[in-house]
Symmetry: C2
Subunit: 141 residues, 2 copies
DNA sequence: CCGTATCCCGACAGATACTG
DNA sequence: CAGTATCTGTCGGGATACGG
């Protein structure tokens, strides 16, 4: 396994064994970074919001999200399970079936993310407008 | 320039010219992904919250954030400026001086991000606890 | 059906050196 | 001081194939 296995580091691309300060990103205790690394994950939010609608099986999720590879799906789900945001239950049917569900903790996260989503929906036009203006200015240089 | 130059695509790693559906990540209009790509950016939130405390010069920011390279700093700042979240003003002093400040729009984003930050601070212990439990279970396999 | 293991490429961060 | 240019290594993550 190549990625997503670090136990508690939190620095995705730490490649400096020499420095003793090891650039603790901003302050001594900045839990924001840790959370951010999770949210930054391409599929985390998508899966969490999807599971908010109710428990789902692996392949159902795969179909619903559509674009996620098996690798990323299982990888992300395991991450989420490890973080206690999603629960995994196995039923010993003939072809084994696994169901994923959002946990209460996961629900609180989704709720906390809502203002961000709302912001995106209401303010994104402003951002796009700003981008267009910026690009126009840049292009006529 | 190699990265962060795409004008309106929004898909960071689109490498499939064949498919006509081109996996629009989840739904037809999902501004969440666009915003997420911005927030996922390693330094965006950090810079935004730093600038919330008041305007700053380039090197001042570089010192304050500590860990960011010139490249990533200038790159991220330009992104933020393009998105209309940060403003850039140049004073023609002898050694030129440039000041960055957060815009009103940027402030609304920071505000919208606050619940997420609060969540991180209050619930992160739960997450860490879940991780420890998960890893214990995994290790004794 | 539910994953894990392997291969491989492109994106992107960091370091360094140079310019206005 | 405020950047840009380039080079390089590392890692995310898609495709594929295989195991329980």
């Amino acid at each position: 396994m190549q990625e997503g296995t670090e136990t508690s580091s939190g620095h995705p691309q730490e490649t400096r064994p020499k420095a003793e300060l090891a650039w603790d990103v901003y302050a001594k205790s900045c839990p924001t970074r840790v959370l951010l690394d999770r949210i930054a994950d391409k599929w985390t939010v998508l899966l969490l919001t999807t599971l908010k609608g109710g428990p789902m099986r692996f392949n159902a999720l795969k179909r619903r999200v559509e674009g996620v590879s098996q690798k990323m799906l299982s990888q992300t789900l395991r991450q989420l399970e490890r973080d206690g945001l999603v629960s995994r239950s196995v039923e010993a049917t003939v072809p084994i079936s696994v169901t994923y569900a959002i946990t209460p903790l996961g629900q609180t996260l989704v709720a906390a993310l809502q203002p961000m989503v709302d912001w995106a929906e209401s303010r994104m036009p402003d951002v796009v407008e700003a981008q267009v203006a910026f690009d126009r200015r840049a292009s006529l240089t």
